[in-house]
């Protein structure tokens, strides 16, 4: 992002975010938070307590054995949902984080209880999510960085064409705001995203049917010159 931010400053590029993108981002943060909440409460707590012979989390200290319980939890629960693609699997990302945290606690001479461990994991998540929400608010809602909120709405005709050409409806809405912007403001506009899977790999098709250019921010300047 550093290169693009430099371009914005140097060439005075106006950057906008549409309401549909803002809503999607807020939804993603909420979904991620609840996903983590579900893992902490319904998976980690349950497996650390033990299914066959439950133990008290507020009196049991963390130990190496708990790492095996975590391993079992992640192997068993939601196995069908796991993609087993270690780069994109959300469970793997959480598993690695929890194991790292637990190992750090086990290594400390004065061990904490499992109850304290799970509470502290949850507290860390709340703190981090708050920081993320605050950064998002600063950049988007309060327009404190280089992005301005766009008041343009999606162009229904362009949205329809994009959907007919295999673009997911939410993405079609995001992209078609560029068409509204060009039409109503009369400025050349492009759509910048890091979403390779659903948008950038289909950029050529999108351009052909809607005349809208979608690209990675590092190429933004090249399309605006």
């Amino acid at each position: 992002m550093t290169k693009f931010k430099k371009d914005v400053k140097e060439y005075g590029i106006a950057c906008y975010v549409s309401e549909s993108v803002m809503k999607e981002c807020e939804g993603k943060i909420k979904k991620t938070t609840d996903f983590l909440g579900g893992i902490l409460k319904d998976v980690i707590t349950v497996y650390l307590e033990g299914i066959r012979s439950p133990r008290k989390l507020d009196t049991t200290k963390v130990s190496n054995d708990d790492l095996h319980r975590i391993k079992e939890a992640f192997l068993t629960v939601n196995q069908t949902a796991r993609e087993f693609d270690l780069i994109t699997d959300p469970f793997q990302a959480v598993e690695e984080w929890i194991v790292e945290k637990l190992e750090r606690e086990i290594a400390k001479p004065k061990g904490i209880t499992l109850d304290e461990f799970v509470t502290s994991l949850t507290a860390t998540i709340l703190d981090e999510i708050n920081k993320l929400q605050s950064d998002f608010e600063r950049i988007v809602e309060l327009e404190a960085d280089y992005i301005t909120k766009s008041n343009q709405t999606p162009d229904p005709q362009v949205t329809q064409i994009l959907i007919q050409n295999g673009i997911h409806q939410p993405d079609a809405n995001h992209i078609s705001v560029v068409a509204s912007h060009q039409k109503n403001i009369g400025e050349k506009a492009i759509f910048l995203t890091f979403d390779y899977k659903s948008i950038l790999l289909k950029w050529d098709r999108i351009r052909r049917v809607s005349n809208i250019i979608c690209c990675d921010p590092i190429y933004g300047l090249s399309h605006l010159r």
């Binding site: 993603k28 991620t32 938070t33 983590l36 409460k41 990302a93 509470t119 502290s120 507290a123």
Partner: protein, 299 residues
Amino acid sequence: MNGEKMSVSSIEYPSSALRYALLNVKPVPFEEIVKIRGIKFLKKGIRYEPEKQFDKIEDFVTFRYGQIFSRMPIPESFSAEYIFNHFVSNTIKKIEEDKELKDELEKKEKSLLGFVDFIQKRFENDMHAYYMSEADRFLRSNLPLSFFAQTSMFINTYQKYLSLVKRIVRRYEILSSLGGVRDRLRSHEQQLNLMKKVLAPLIDGMDLFCIDALSLKLYVTIWSAENIEEIENPKFLDINKLEPSYFQEYLTNYSIQLKNIRKLIFQMSRKYDPEIFKKEVVSGNSETTMLSKLLSSNL
């Protein structure tokens, strides 16, 4: 485990304390004899005294809970009067037992900045415990974690608020000490009035936010309580015991006030300290790495 740390009433008094200590004071000159190495010196200075008789912190507490409970439904099995008295007396008791705060309120007669600094340091020292308390409430509930992420934004917001208040008070203290000795009282009066003018909308905004934060917390807490002994700290926070329309109303009011106060802090921080709204997520730590993976995955 940590349920007590940020119990419902502890949201209450830092906000009232700032109103009491910063908005309802006037500067008065004082003279005292101080001894330095056995030699007597006459020390002249300015101290701050409460402006009006009414403004006792206890009055604010009673007024605040009155505002909250006048519109809150209470379960039939509980007495509304008992609950009101319980929270008022409990909060006043906590303030009375808070010797550290009392001492600082007395010291504030000498320096308003010192008082704000004390409130800020104490809050920041307790921030981890506040997050632990919210985490504990989540683990003892069937409410989603996103709800607690929303309520814990109070902590993030209050931290920013205190940084801003401190900046404003600091500016006032510097400016008021710039005048000559003869005009010192006048200079203090003028600067204090200017400071109050700047701080008043901020403290008012925070008070409104505190009311809605406290209302939401109390609504969830009281309605989850199995019996009267649990009204301050129920064993389990149960979403099924909440009336959806009331819960939604309290949550919406809280979210509106949260947005309002953060916007106000942001706008004022641009003049007094733009660093208050700086980037908070630290790239490269294990939490950020995990969260960025989750946010870019198809959950």
